[in-house]
Amino acid sequence: MGNLDPLGLTRRSFVAVSSALFVVAALPQKIWAAALRPETAFQATTLEATFEALGGAPTVSDGIVFSTPDIAENGAVVPVRIEIDTSVLSDVSKIYVIVEKNPNPLAAVFQVPPNTQPYAETRVKVAQTGNLYAVAEANGQLYMMQRETKVTLGGCGG
């Protein structure tokens, strides 16, 4: 096998590099970031309270291309992908992932500066079958797209 090394660095230097950065980047970013984390929204325990904390009930928009699987083999890891069709919805600055029936519906927030594509992909825990919401904030307005994901009892049920 050729010495193909797609990561661009070997494992040893990879650890060294990451630990070195650990000190440098952590400090400033920590102070700046903490100030803007929407704590009340993360603490909300109902969908309504979550929307309230984000600034009111969003209106549905087709500009949000929201992909989630119809049936998830396991609720612990449900892939979600949000892409914004900028021809329909422009100036999106934030994307929220909300799982209605989770103890705390707000799962994740992605802030995207102008030069960044309004796009986000991650994997979230879905407590039980229910609605997932992708919410986009543009010029102070909230927009949303909703999809249902069924979470099945995987395995032999035992």
Binding site: I71, K150, T152, L153, C156, G157, G158
Partner: protein
């Protein structure tokens, strides 16, 4: 006769070796002990591929014994509460060393059967039982279904369905509730297809 004896003998020898290896390879855990490795005659007879040719004489004897052992419910009350039956059918726990022995055992029917047509997460090791209530509630049908649940080998020797009654997995009450889940017209099993 020697040939028959040899087949029976070799079967027994192999069964012993497997038993001894398992005895050395397993250990008690919580309330589950290695006594469970001991086979009764039916288990030993059925420890073979589904396609294997079956000694019809021994099979008939086992079928008879299974039928004889079935306990009909007190004053022939076959049907209980379908809503409790649904819970038994959905509960996959019970008798595993990771389970709480104080809790009731589940029947785990959904593991192998389709029941409520709107429930997507069902197995297909056994036939679909959706709309089972359409078979009607004649005494014969109730007795057949009860016997099938109690000890399926009364009809189908070496079936892979557990002996829910004979092996003491489900109580009489739980079996009555599962019967109701199958027969009661209000049970989701008997509602329209999705």
């Amino acid at each position: 006769m020697q040939l028959l004896a040899f087949i029976l003998f070799s079967n027994a020898v192999y069964a012993d070796e497997a038993y001894n290896v398992l005895l050395d390879s397993m250990k008690d855990k919580n309330f589950v002990t290695v006594e469970r490795l001991e086979q009764d005659e039916l288990q030993e007879f059925c420890s073979q591929p589904r396609s294997a040719s079956v000694d019809q004489a021994r099979a008939a004897k086992l079928r008879e014994a299974a039928l004889k052992g079935v306990l009909i419910p007190k004053d022939e009350r076959y049907l209980g509460d379908w809503q409790l039956g649904e819970k038994v059918a959905s509960n996959g726990r019970g008798l595993q060393y990771s389970d709480d022995p104080e809790q009731e055992n589940g029947g785990n029917c959904y593991a192998c059967h389709q029941l409520d047509p709107n429930e997507v997460a069902y197995g297909n090791l056994g036939p679909s039982l959706s709309g089972y209530g359409a078979r009607g509630q004649s005494a014969a049908m109730l007795q057949y279904t009860w016997t099938k649940l109690w000890n399926t080998h009364a009809y189908n020797v070496c079936s892979h369905m557990p002996r829910f009654g004979a092996a003491g997995i489900l109580t009489e009450k739980q079996l009555q509730d599962v019967m109701a889940f199958l027969f009661d017209p209000n049970s989701p099993v008997n509602r329209s297809q999705p």
